[in-house]
Subunit: 273 residues, 2 copies
Amino acid sequence: MSGLQRDPSDYKTHLLKASGALRQAIRTAEHSGMTSGLAPGLVQGNVVILPADWAGDFLTYCQNNPVSCPLIAVSDVGNPALSGLGRDIDIRHDLPEYNVFRHGELVETTTDIGALWQDDMVAFVLGCSFSFEDALQQAGLSVRNIDMGVNVSMYRSNIPTVPGGRFHGDMVVSMRPFRAADAIRAVQVTTRLPKAHGAPVHLGDPSLIGIADLATPDFGDAIELRDGELPVFWACGVTPQVAVRNAKPPICITHVPGKMLITDLLNAELSIL
Amino acid sequence: MSGLQRDPSDYKTHLLKASGALRQAIRTAEHSGMTSGLAPGLVQGNVVILPADWAGDFLTYCQNNPVSCPLIAVSDVGNPALSGLGRDIDIRHDLPEYNVFRHGELVETTTDIGALWQDDMVAFVLGCSFSFEDALQQAGLSVRNIDMGVNVSMYRSNIPTVPGGRFHGDMVVSMRPFRAADAIRAVQVTTRLPKAHGAPVHLGDPSLIGIADLATPDFGDAIELRDGELPVFWACGVTPQVAVRNAKPPICITHVPGKMLITDLLNAELSIL
């Protein structure tokens, strides 16, 4: 894309070309790293794959917790395609890395789940904070984890989620540091993206939501908090992985935190206002 | 107003009856106290009255600082009516109490300025945070100063304003305490009211904006900050009174902080989104 004026269709064509190449690199395991800051402008997704007889409970859990689990797509039973999110997506190969849970225990990480796929599996895709990181940057704000080239810091909070069937547990949150005026702007910008966790759930003192030490995140990398900055916390799509540990389905496959599904949807297509 | 269903026109008629009675009580000096929490649903205004040869500079100052000085009406020169804000408003009598500044010094407070009015005077009305207090309450949030029945806490900050002609100075801010999740909600709610100062300008550590001690506000009353609460700061329409002290016009008349002009405009008429 060059020049100051964009043809909207050219803009999307350009992004889709980039996302297609990126997904191909992920499919061939050429890229197995985090996806934060990659494919800017396009929606990234948290993924949860469950057997069909666990799908109803999980749908209820998402419905009950739309901020941490903003559902954007559900596959047909046994079908690894998600045509609503991208014409060529095959959920068995298109994540950089997968977590495999059996009876609630993380037993394996792998870059491909072709060998694990079952005819009764259903894939759920949830919106992700990486969508609003792009919106924050477009609003002129600095996103520390992207600037540092590391994964975002994620923590288990003590904010309870609403149980859905057998799924229950506390909310996982992601944290980005901002000066107060930028934190206020970040509330405004991310409010526009309810399908990517929307506005923050907390800011300021981490102990108020059960986080003892910001320097030791439960997932992702530690991010420096500088003088005059507040930690700002958003609900995170890793929340279902805690609920899966509690529900203990025979098998559940998720993305590895920070290594998301790249879709063909524009962030702007998910945004309101 | 009774019953759960409102006729919109009845709603406004009801509010105008209440505001008319309140303005009458103020006009006769029967009410000379603060107006926070009074006339809920209706826009209240900060007032600045200046000689016409200072009006251009002040308009520029408002234009340069729309967050602290959100101009909602300007009178004709020498005309104490403000028909756009309320049919019967007479700015000489309709504030509970006035500050009179001469050459930048506060020399007098009075409940009526009929004797001080000059043929060359222009009245400016700026939106006020009391409009968004009503919106916050309607969103289910508690506003401490209203709950306590006291004036809001206001402080001189070290946030500079943009000079306009002879007017210049630092921003005055009002403070309300909220728990973090409510502070985030308050950002969303007040963003809808840019003509009533809009979103907060700061939250958290007061020293970052030059406030040494929350317990000793420069204007208004002290408000208790409870465990787990953040102070949230909004730009305040007392900012021009600091600029007037710096500009030193021969005469300037303002409202006394917390004692505002009650208008006939609905807060909802000023709100966006």
